[in-house]
């Protein structure tokens, strides 16, 4: 079969600019073959090459005594003591999920789980940060139902507990939903597997599911804006098979124990191309592949298709040849394909041979290392206009408005579709705040949270970036965990627009400042750009996934609030209403600046919570929705009421940062007041927990039953 002629149209359809093509000609020294063009497009698209973001990502703090391996491998590796490590990452599957919600979200789960177990870790927790368009938009219901079912369908079968996540709605996501999947795994710190190949003439082995035509060109699709032709892109979405993934995980972990693995890499975006180049590049070796040996599930697949297929549940490994029989036996046991498809070579070439014919012959180092890198022009986001007056409203009406919105209503409809308890170590399943998973067979546990407030980031990218990290920090501290490290999933619009690039740069700077001040280095992450449809961008959404360590499960701060408990707030409240939930949901006003985050204060208040956890019955951070929403959520979770001693709108719904709400008994409250005085931490008594009604001030009230009903039913009535 003859290959298509290389024309300007073909080049453009591969997402390559004329400048980029000129560089290719320069590198190859001749016109590339069709397969070579495909390989370049796969390696150089935004999704794989980070060409717009690399310059800025390099500025992020990524090191610390707790970090075993930062960004650059499949996932970040962090020390949790006793010779153990937690391995985690968050990754987006936004474009595929919008085109085909079930499979897009499912394969997003598959990809992130593979990133974790590729490194030798058994996944122990997952989270999902989801952003959808407004509930009334005609696509939203289908997307929510499909995405949630897809995540559940994959994760439940695979057998990893969901520990938390976020679900938000905003018209800015009408044309581009966000599906950010997080996974964390556990491994022995001295048994981590990396992707760098070593040794010449070592067999390159293909593991897992067979290769089909699904996903050909997927990474290129994920690096472009959408327009009304997106329906035609459906065939570029891969189809997931969680049962194969589960077997691939078990077989991979078992294989690693045999000592046969020199290096290993999962086949994610741009499949065989990316994984083979990565292993060769990191090991300073060339790679030759014989494509006729690749297990395929469709007839007459071309070299181009095999090299660009994004079929799921596949891995590539460099094997110790003397242990081939043992390695193959493991894959036979799990009924998975195991095929030697190539070898490492001394020459710096990426040499693709199909039935004896050379289909590509490229300099491997150059292919991996010289992807274009752009210093995109950017403009600073202009300062927000000052906020006009916000009228006082009846606080219970305000609370009802918030909890009637799917943004602030309870999310059981989502989390009940995920297995949150498999592996039987879920100390806290998704509710308010962090999820907690015990480390099996030890007294330790890990806390997980995922946070960002996109409205803040839009108004003020720097403060918004800081706030996302600070909120994650608070959510970890509020359960008694020591924040360890962070993964970032940067979702933005088209980086070729200076104002979008300005959002990105501002958010990166804010995140960098916060992870440094709060000692939560970035150990992994992912960038998703071009989240625009017909020129309209999403809200800038730098999702922060964070992990905290609990050294003994006895140190977990509980959740049980009783009638008579005192309500205390750590931190001062000035009543910051700019970009607040109340302003958006009640007044439909997206105005004002994001709240300012004082990082020194965040660190101090977080340490106070952790140091005094013995005196705290329950704790939650104050974030969007302010004290009113946090107090209601904390009370509702225990089936009690709450009385707050203020009826002032700004005091109740303001979103000042650095604050926590604590429930404790009277004696503990006295002790906490003293401790706070000594530590120089502001502490305020704001009310108490009661039997069965919510009061704000002395006249505004509703029964717990009425509010609970609204809170628990609003999500499903909006989107189910």
């Amino acid at each position: 079969m003859s290959e298509p002629e290389i024309t300007p149209e073909l080049i453009a359809s591969h997402g390559l600019t004329p400048d980029e093509y000129a560089r290719i000609l320069d590198i190859v020294g001749r016109e590339p073959t069709f397969t070579e063009l495909g390989i370049f497009s796969a390696m150089w698209n935004e999704h794989c090459s980070y060409k717009s973001s690399k310059k800025w990502l390099r500025t992020l703090p990524t090191t610390g005594p707790q970090v075993i391996c930062g960004p650059g491998e499949n996932a970040g590796v962090v020390d949790i003591g006793d010779g153990q490590a937690v391995i985690f990452k968050m990754e987006s599957h936004n474009h595929p999920s919008y085109i085909e919600p079930y499979q897009g979200a499912a394969t997003g789960m598959g990809g992130i789980l593979r990133d974790v177990f590729t490194m030798g870790a058994r996944p122990i927790a997952s989270m999902n940060s989801l952003s959808f368009g407004e509930p009334a938009h005609h696509k939203t219901r289908q997307l929510v139902n499909g995405v949630v079912a897809g995540i559940g369908g994959y994760g439940n079968c695979f057998g990893v507990p969901c520990a938390g996540g976020e679900v938000r709605f905003d018209p800015a996501y009408n044309g581009n939903c966000l599906v950010n999947a997080f996974a964390a795994g556990l491994a022995d710190a001295d048994k981590i597997f990396y992707s760098a190949a070593s040794g010449v003439g070592m067999p390159v082995v293909y593991l897992g599911a067979k290769t089909g035509r699904d996903g050909v060109g997927g990474a290129t699709m994920a690096s472009a804006e959408f327009d009304d032709s997106i329906e035609e892109k459906r065939p570029t979405v891969q189809v997931g098979d969680p049962f194969t993934e589960k077997r691939l995980m078990e077989a991979t972990l078992e294989l690693m124990q045999t000592g046969a693995v020199i290096s290993i890499q999962d086949m994610g975006a741009a499949g065989l191309t990316c994984s083979a180049v990565e292993m060769g590049d990191k090991g300073n070796l060339g790679v030759r592949l014989h494509l006729e040996n690749v297990p395929v599930r469709e007839d007459h697949m071309t070299a181009y298709e095999m090299m660009l297929s994004e079929s799921q549940e596949r891995m590539l490994m460099v094997l110790k040849p003397e242990l081939e029989a043992q390695a193959k036996a493991v894959f036979d046991k799990w009924d998975l394909d195991f095929a030697i498809v190539g070898e490492t070579i001394a020459e710096d070439r990426f040499h693709i041979v199909h039935n004896g014919e050379t289909k590509a012959d490229l300099p491997l180092k150059t292919l991996a290392g010289t992807a274009p890198e752009y210093d995109r022009p950017w403009v600073e986001t202009p300062p927000a206009e000052p906020l006009a007056d916000v009228p006082n409203i009846d606080p219970i009406d305000g609370l009802k408005a918030l909890i009637s919105s799917p943004n602030y209503a309870a999310k059981q409809w989502v989390y009940e579709q995920y297995d949150t308890m498999v592996m039987a170590d879920s100390a806290r399943t998704p509710n308010i705040g962090s999820g907690i998973v015990r480390i099996h067979g030890t007294d330790k546990a890990l806390a997980f949270t995922s946070d960002v407030t996109p409205r803040y980031v839009k108004a003020n990218p720097f403060e918004g970036g800081k706030q996302a990290v600070a909120e994650a920090y608070r959510n970890l501290c509020a359960v008694g965990a020591r924040p360890l490290a962070t993964t970032d999933n940067m979702n933005f619009g088209n980086p070729e627009k200076p104002e979008i690039m300005g959002q990105f740069v501002g958010a990166i700077k804010g995140i960098g400042a916060a992870v440094k001040a709060l000692d939560m280095p970035i150990v992994s992450g992912n960038v998703s750009l071009y989240n625009e449809t017909d020129g309209t961008a999403i809200l800038p959404t730098p999702t922060i996934g964070a992990v905290g360590l609990i050294t003994h499960t006895d140190e977990i701060i509980g959740t049980e609030v009783r009638e008579g408990h005192v309500a205390l707030v750590i931190g001062d409240t000035s009543g910051h209403m700019g970009q607040s939930a109340l302003l958006a949901e009640v007044f439909n006003r997206i105005e004002g600046d994001a709240p300012t985050v004082d990082l020194e204060m965040e660190a101090k208040h977080g340490a106070f919570i952790r140091d005094n956890r013995d005196m705290i019955k329950a704790c939650t951070d104050l974030s969007d929705g302010g004290l009113a929403l946090a107090a209601f959520e904390l009370a509702e979770a225990s089936g009690v009421g709450v009385w707050l001693d203020s009826d002032d709108t700004a005091m109740l719904f303001g979103e000042d940062q650095g604050r926590y709400l604590i429930a404790c008994n009277f004696d503990q409250a006295e002790a906490l007041m003293l401790a706070a005085g000594r530590a120089g931490v502001p502490i305020h008594s704001v009310g108490k927990f009661t039997s069965d009604a919510v009061w704000m001030g002395n006249t505004s009230t509703a029964s717990l039953a009425e509010l609970s009903e609204i809170y628990s039913s609003s999500f499903a009535s909006a989107v189910a």
Binding site: F243, K246, V422, T553
Partner: protein
């Protein structure tokens, strides 16, 4: 008590069940689905939850034709004890060891949450740690837990006191609110809820502990 926990390639509650058995004092052997023999001296076979073969074809249908299932049938035919939880219950109905079938949940969605179960009978090695009428909190996690059997089968289960557990508020459409049933010799229990997820105060509560303790007590004497 020596318990064998069967491992299919897609089992994912195998470890959880083994831990619950061990906490009740059992010695546990993990048994691979391709094995053609159960370990010697096994008192009870546990068929765990998960997605044995990805729930392809029908939940439990492919598993029911695996080599180990022939051994499980022969074990129960000889009066051996067995417990099937969630996917394990589906496997036991597919092998014919227990009657009925598990259909897709009435709401067509996967459900993971803790539900109330009423103990319908204390007359079995599995349930004699409870009193009939007790209400216990046990998690469920399934997409296909909607128990179905013909009316005459349901009547027979009722008349023979073989309904072990019913839901207090049926989440999945199960006929007669059935959450778990016993074999006619009362030595095989199949249930959709996960007692092994409620056998530890640090995870999911402790209402399932009595089941494993009762079993251990009964089988250690045997």
């Amino acid at each position: 008590m020596h318990a064998a926990v069967v491992v299919f390639p897609g089992s994912n509650c195998d470890r959880d069940l083994a831990v619950a058995f061990e906490q009740a004092g059992a010695r546990v052997s993990m048994v691979w689905h391709k094995d053609t023999k159960l370990p010697d001296g096994v008192d009870i076979v546990g068929v765990p939850g998960g997605f044995s073969f990805g729930d392809y074809l029908r939940c439990g249908a492919i598993a029911a034709n695996s080599p180990i299932c022939r051994e499980i049938v022969s074990h129960t035919d000889k009066g051996g004890f067995a417990i099937g939880i969630c996917n394990g219950f589906q496997v036991l109905t597919e092998t014919g060891i227990l009657p009925g079938a598990l259909l897709r949940n009435a709401g067509l969605k996967y459900i993971c949450k803790t539900v109330g179960l009423k103990v319908e009978t204390s007359q079995s090695a599995f349930t004699n740690g409870y009193n009939a009428g007790d209400v216990i909190d046990i998690p469920i996690a399934h997409h296909d837990g909607n128990y179905f059997a013909e009316d005459d089968v349901i009547s027979q289960l009722k008349s023979e006191d073989r309904i072990a557990f019913t839901y207090t508020d049926t989440p999945n459409g199960a006929k007669a609110d059935i959450a778990g049933i016993l074999s006619s010799n009362r030595r095989v229990l199949g249930m959709m809820p996960h007692p092994e997820r409620s056998a530890d105060a640090g995870h999911g509560g402790t209402d399932g502990v009595a089941l494993f303790r009762a079993l251990s007590g009964a089988l250690s004497l045997a």
